[in-house]
């Protein structure tokens, strides 16, 4: 301790303290402040650049995922459209078939009706023709065989009964 105190030079201490104080302030003003702020600025810049790169990456990802989504949607839409079209086609075909069948049935029915009517008409005509014929036959018969009246009448009646068509 004695030697420490003996070696201690107050003058050196004063000079060192004053110089140190001055140098600390000079260095803070002219060196450390600009250096630290420049470093901070640079680090901030690097941080920002990294962040924006990260953001861009995320954006890219989201864009590609939305692209995928759109694509999928489009495909789905196409599928549904195709499906609908197929359904419509089947329906149309079925409807057409049904219509055609109905039409055919109708046509057949009307044809049958017309045939029936024709038949009836033909029958009626036939009947009246037959009646006419019968009358003329009867007239002839009456003219030739008037003597055998009784026999003739029963003959005519027998003929008529035979001719009675439906």
């Amino acid at each position: 301790m004695d030697q420490l105190l003996n070696d201690f030079s107050p003058g050196l201490f004063i000079i060192q303290s004053v110089l140190m104080l001055v140098v600390i302030f000079l260095m803070i003003k002219f060196a450390w402040k600009p250096i630290i702020s420049a470093l901070d600025e640079r680090e901030e810049g690097i941080k920002n650049a990294l962040e924006s790169a990260e953001k861009a990456k995320l954006e890219m990802e989201s864009i590609s995922s939305s692209n995928e989504k759109l694509f999928n949607q489009a495909r789905e839409e196409r599928d549904t459209l195709l499906k609908e079209a197929r359904e419509i086609k089947a329906k149309i075909i079925a409807e057409a078939e049904a219509n055609a069948e109905a039409e055919a049935a109708k046509i057949i029915a009307s044809a049958k009706e017309a045939i029936e009517a024709e038949k009836k008409e033909a029958l009626a005509e036939l009947k009246s023709e037959v009646a006419q014929l019968s009358i003329s036959v009867a007239e002839k018969l009456l003219k030739e065989e008037l003597s055998d009246a009784k026999k003739d009448a029963s003959f005519v009646n027998g003929l008529l009964g035979e001719v009675n068509l439906k």
């Binding site: 420490l4 070696d7 201690f8 030079s9 107050p10 003058g11 050196l12 201490f13 004063i14 000079i15 060192q16 303290s17 110089l19 140190m20 140098v23 600390i24 000079l26 260095m27 803070i28 002219f30 060196a31 450390w32 402040k33 600009p34 250096i35 630290i36 420049a38 470093l39 600025e41 640079r42 810049g45």
Partner: protein, 383 residues
């Protein structure tokens, strides 16, 4: 082909480094080993040969000096010649401030040579300047070698350490001003600033930020950086052949420790004082016992800071110089070549370690300063 040139380059780089180190050690060995003692003690001015002269020389080197002594030699007439240059002496005497060059003492360090300056008689004894009392023409010593008829004066001279200090401060301002200006042009430094920038970032990120905290470190970074680079550069300068010993002066380290102490206690928060005087969370009798211990602790911390730096650097210088002195002391037993080779090898080893110590001490001083400041400004959550 490319591989081999690359290897050659690396090899030549390593060789260069080795060459540099050995040149450096050789220079320091040469400068210190052959330089004789400069304190012209009564028994002649000869080269240093005996062990007691060596230890005296080493102890003299550890101290501050008033002139810049490079080396000495014997001229053809057998006179001892000293090569170096004088430094200005500025002393505050009883008759005001006196200035003159240290060459007026004629390399006398024993107090025999009296310098008369405007009616003030001054002598230099063991690198301390004394003013003789009125009427005295010769300095008298008591048994403990303290002058009896003279008193020490306030010595504001530009001593060797002050000279070195000025050199270091000039270098620091020059380097870091240039470094700071570089950022105006481009954000990535070039040249020597490339070495400085990682160091600045190291001090900021490894010393200031973790110890003081992200929020408050900016207030103290200027002090920490300046102290770190001052101590480191001074330590490295001390390893160079000129024999500076700035951080080995107790006055210098005391000043540095006082800076840390003042900054710590002027910026201390309420919590810090509370933890010293009225430690929370312990019973009251314990609080009363703890207060003086804690108060003493605030003093011992900067004291240890001061003594550590001083002792490490002084011890380093003493060890390096003692090992260099092996070349002289073991000359008789090992021969000139053997002793020189041994001292060269050992001093190469120790100087390499000292290079590490130079950084380590700067780091530890700054680290502990940051730690103490951090403890003082920390906001404790109440427990």
């Amino acid at each position: 082909m490319k591989e081999t040139t690359h290897m050659n380059l690396r090899k030549s780089g390593r060789n260069k480094l080795l060459g540099l180190i050995s040149l450096f050690v050789f220079c320091s060995a040469f400068a210190s080993g052959t330089a004789p003692k400069s304190d012209g003690d009564s028994e002649g001015h000869g080269a240093i040969t005996s062990e007691s002269e060596i230890s005296e020389y080493i102890l003299h080197h550890i101290k501050d000096a008033h002139d810049f002594h490079l080396f000495s030699y014997d001229d053809s007439e057998g006179h001892r010649r000293h090569v170096g240059f004088p430094l200005p002496v500025i002393v505050h005497t009883s008759k005001g401030i006196k200035t003159f060059m240290s060459s007026k003492f004629h390399h006398d360090d024993s107090g025999h040579h009296v310098v008369e300056k405007d009616g003030v008689a001054l002598v230099k004894y063991h690198e301390k300047i004394y003013e003789l009392d009125q009427g005295a023409h010769r300095v008298e010593f008591d048994e403990a070698h303290h002058p009896t008829n003279a008193h020490a004066v306030l010595d504001l001279s530009v001593t060797k350490s002050v000279f070195g200090m000025l050199l270091v401060f000039t270098l620091l301002i020059f380097w870091f001003r240039r470094h700071a200006l570089q950022y105006r042009k481009n954000s990535i430094p070039k040249g020597f600033s490339r070495i400085l920038e990682p160091l600045v970032i190291y001090v900021r990120d490894e010393i200031a930020k973790p110890n003081i905290g992200e929020k408050q470190y900016r207030k103290f970074i200027g002090f920490l950086m300046t102290v770190f680079f001052f101590i480191w550069t001074s330590n490295l300068l001390g390893l160079m052949p000129f024999g500076f010993n700035i951080t080995g002066q107790i006055a210098v380290t005391f000043s540095l420790a006082l800076f840390t102490y003042s900054i710590t206690h002027f910026s201390a928060k309420k919590d810090y004082w509370k933890h010293i005087f009225w430690m929370p969370g312990v019973p009251i009798p314990m609080k009363i016992i703890l207060a003086p211990i804690e108060l003493l602790g605030t003093l011992t911390k900067p004291f240890a800071l001061m003594v550590r730096l001083f002792a490490n650097i002084s011890a380093g210088h003493i060890v390096v110089m003692s090992i260099i002195a092996i070349g002289i002391t073991l000359r008789n037993t090992m021969g000139v070549i053997g002793a020189s080779a041994l001292s060269f090898a050992l001093s190469l080893f120790i100087t390499t370690i000292e290079l590490l110590v130079a950084f380590l001490q700067a780091y530890i001083f700054t680290m502990l300063s940051a730690l103490f400041i951090g403890m003082a400004v920390e906001e404790h959550e109440h427990h």
